[in-house]
Symmetry: C2
Subunit: 234 residues, 2 copies
């Protein structure tokens, strides 16, 4: 069963760096493919055309390469998605990293940056549920967990606390993305709500579906969580 598949051990490591000759940008300058270029082009394409707009053929075209050439650097399309998502989630924490500043500021800064990154690339929310944790995701998890620990959360509660805050960002991002369609749709939804009369009185009255201060909603929910966590120090 594991006979004719050289997959897995292949490629991935190596570059080429083109021995800097006299004319770096010759007329037929064909940069070689590389994971970096592929990932960068993927993000561009996703930004421009959305999830459905990324196809291996189009991606190769943007790189002025043959479609099948991509497969030397990448196992399959899912991997491209994974790399693009993680690429967009890079985070460099401000330098005063640890002690002096309040843990809470650190957490809030990182999470708001995270959410902002994902809203800048709306396709990312669609990919979230089906992709594993890349290094940048792990890095954010690490920072979050460390900050909460530093905040005094007991070890026994640390994982639950970390996941709860994490889930808040995931949920808020996805919910927000769902409402990012045109205002027309939102109005239509609210009107349809009114049509169905008494079935949904509360969310009709509170205009829940017309919410537009998503930043505020995010921040309020986050405060709720962090307040709760900091009042239960271990």
């Amino acid at each position: 069963m594991a006979a004719a598949k050289p997959t897995g051990t292949q490629g991935k490591r190596s570059r080429r760096t083109r021995k800097a000759g006299p004319s770096v940008d010759d007329k037929s300058s064909e940069m070689p493919l590389s994971l970096e270029r592929i990932v960068a082009a993927s993000v561009e394409l996703l930004d421009a055309q959305g999830v459905g707009g990324l196809t291996m053929r189009r991606l190769a075209d943007h790189l002025e390469a043959g479609a099948m050439s991509l497969y030397w650097h990448v196992d399959n399309k899912e991997e491209v998605f994974g790399l693009a998502l993680d690429a967009v989630l890079e985070y460099r924490a401000p330098q005063h990293v640890g002690e002096t500043e309040s843990w809470r500021d650190d957490v809030v800064h990182m999470l708001e940056d995270w959410r902002a990154s994902m809203l800048r690339h709306p396709w990312s929310a669609l990919l979230l549920p089906r992709l594993a944790l890349g290094p940048n995701m792990l890095n954010r998890l690490e920072l979050l967990s460390r900050a909460l620990s530093r905040a005094g959360v007991a070890d026994a509660d640390l994982n639950a606390a970390t996941w709860s805050v994490w889930n808040h960002v995931m949920g808020a991002t996805i919910t927000r993305g769902n409402f990012d369609r045109s205002d027309d749709d939102r109005n239509a939804a609210q009107i349809r709500l009114a049509e169905f009369g008494e079935r949904y009185p509360t969310i009709e009255r509170s205009r829940l579906l017309l919410e537009d201060d998503w930043d505020g909603v995010f921040r309020k929910g986050l405060d709720l969580l962090l307040d709760g966590l900091s009042s239960r120090k271990g």
Copy 2:
């Protein structure tokens, strides 16, 4: 622009109910298609084969119909996904609906049922980010919002509170789904974590990725939110 498209006004409403003749189950008993049957078959197929396993042709085969026949009842594949998701999210609240019981029990019951429904159909988490709110989703939003209002949350905070709790369920479900792969994967992930040594010390030490009490995590986060909400009555 809106010229040659009869779409939207067509079909959807009507049944047939087969004039109950002498033999209801004749030998060539071909039940007519219907939205209900299509949705039911979709859920079956999704349960059995996952998101990638649902194709219009396979769906039609399961219904012993031609592939294109589906399109009289449904506009496109996305609509099938939407209907399947909403179908799986139906909720009938226990009958004592309102006054006597604690609002908190109502909320917890509904949310745990929600989460359980989605975990029973793992494909649902993948669809969440890209689908609009169906009637069953709206119903759950309504119940949630109403309970929180009844709990004393001020009108000004009601939407933020509702979305925060909502987001918690969304995030928890998706996170959980991401870790539903085999234990092998999880162990591999944790080991890879150890390999990368000092980059992720906290989540390595706390074995965050090996979490297996997801019910507990969900419940703790929810309690955190509800505690916060009930202590800020308006």
